[in-house]
Amino acid sequence: MSFPWAKEYTPTTDFGQWMDKQLPLPRFVYNSVGAGYPAPRNLNYMWNFGSMAGLFLVIQIVTGIILAMHYAANAEIAFDSVEHIMRDVNSGWMIRYAHANGASFFFIAIYLHIGRGLFYGSYKAPREMLWLLGVVIYLLAMATAFMGYVLPWGQMSFWGAKVITGLFEAIPLVGKPIQELLLGGFAPDNAALNRFFSLHYLLPFVIVGVVIMHIWALHIPGSNNPTGVDVKGPQDTVPFHPYYTAKDGWTIGLALIFFTALMFFLPNALGHADNYIPANPLSTPAHIVPEWYFWPWYAVLRAFTFDFLFIPAKLLGVLAMFSAILVWFFLPWLDKSPVRSGNFRPKFKIFFGILVIDVLILGYCGGAPAEEPFVMISQVAAAYYFAHFLIILPLLSRMEKPEPLPNSITESVTGKPLNTAS
């Protein structure tokens, strides 16, 4: 794995050599995120969000394990136990706010990371598996975040659980039994809360496992880069440490400033006031919205207000919502253009920009009430979203004439042909 010119790990101490013989864990770390991993020298700031997502995953796991020490997954006392964390536990308020806002920052990082992959063609050969594993991480993260939001057992928790499990009811014939199986009842109650807590604790570790495979799959071809041109020799790379550890460390520092600012000064800005009302199965909040990171997909779900052929609108919405993400699994084979980087694809660049705006519009509509004009806008935006992946990308890869690629990464950086660059 990695390039032949990668620096060899050479332990200098006796203990280091003893360790290297018996369990070469330091060697593994050195080759993964140390000086033993040569990374393209031209990575821009868009390459910083993978490690940032990793950091926020760790923050979520650490704060989450702590919260689980004080939280009680029982419908009778769950809400009170969260208030107990907020009021009685030493620094409990801080740890809970870190966990609640950490989820948002995890998704900010992961969305920028996905956007980077979409623009620079990081999903193309030889990195399809890397991309597929990334989509799996994203799906797991969404499931984890959803179940975590149920745990405080406030009004949004309860009705969120009801609405999301209600999606499964749309499945023909077996929908209702599946929903009852998931909930362990007919509406969210103690059984559902307990299993959501169990899974909310489990899934992050599953995510860690997939992240390890994701990094493993990354290190076989090595990182993509802004030109999309393959690494051709040692002159095209720099060691991951100290170059990218320092660069990642700098943006992580910046992200932590924004994170702590939000957590200490606007801790509920991204939450919903209704979730400070204990769950009440007899009263639905006037305006149910999921957390902001689900808004685009929620808009796709609500865009289907009409039956199509024999498919009822409800099922159609559910299918569309899941398809909106599942289509990513086929992306490497939908976009056939051999050019990876959007920088050298003049038309793709425009359509990519439109897609970003389209998803932002979907996100806005997903957070807005389900009324006109948002429903109509969602319908148009959802249609465009699918058109982008299923029609525009396949056609574009046939019709577009890409700009000439640089001969190498070094040439694109120095402006000099390869043989004269030092």
């Binding site: 010119w5 004080h70 107990h84 009685d88 536990v89 030493n90």
Partner: protein
């Protein structure tokens, strides 16, 4: 082997110390201080929370405890023995040669002045934490007429001092205060 050019200014030395060394040390110390500041609340959350501390003192009405009787109550989720000693028990406790005890203490040191008949102790054996017998009616009081721990056979006398068996110290006397003749505040 060609590598990226390293800027010459970065390695310019000033008395053997590079400017980058300073940046490195400054950055790592700053991050280290931040890490310590972060870890403190993450560990401190395991300390007793405000609601637990709020229950850390209780008031007990002792008016119904006759001479020679004792009661068990609960304080900080641990048993408390409150014993109204008889004259005989008091003189028995005072007759002991304090210097010969494993944990030398007089009865007066373990009770409140003027209320030497009220012996208030934790009902937690100082050996490994079992609840000794002797507080409830009919329970074995041990060889010294005080308390007896059935787990590993520690005998306490009428001042709840360890006399025989593995326990290292006397039964703990919690901080307490008589609010009136009939009400005692523990904790």
């Amino acid at each position: 082997m060609a590598t990226v050019e390293i800027a010459d200014t970065a390695v310019a030395e000033e008395g053997g110390v590079r400017r980058r060394d300073f940046i490195n040390i400054a950055a790592v110390s700053f991050a280290g201080a931040g890490a310590v500041a972060t870890v403190f609340p993450l560990v401190n959350q395991m300390n007793p929370s405000a609601d637990v501390l709020a229950l850390s003192s209780i008031e007990v009405d002792i008016s119904a405890i006759e001479t020679g009787q004792s009661i068990k109550t609960s304080w900080r989720k641990q048993p408390i023995f409150i014993r109204n000693l008889t004259e005989a028990e008091i003189s028995q406790a005072n007759a002991v040669d304090v210097d010969g005890l494993r944990d030398p203490q007089t009865l007066a040191e373990r009770t409140t002045a003027g209320k030497e008949n009220w012996l208030i102790t934790l009902g937690v054996c100082t050996h490994l934490g079992c609840v000794p017998l002797g507080a409830a009616q009919g329970e074995i009081k041990g060889e010294f007429g005080g308390y007896f721990c059935p787990c590993h056979g520690s005998h306490y006398d009428t001042a709840a001092r360890i006399r025989k068996g593995p326990a290292p110290t006397n039964l703990v006397v919690p901080e307490h205060e008589f609010l009136s003749d009939t009400v005692v505040k523990i904790g």
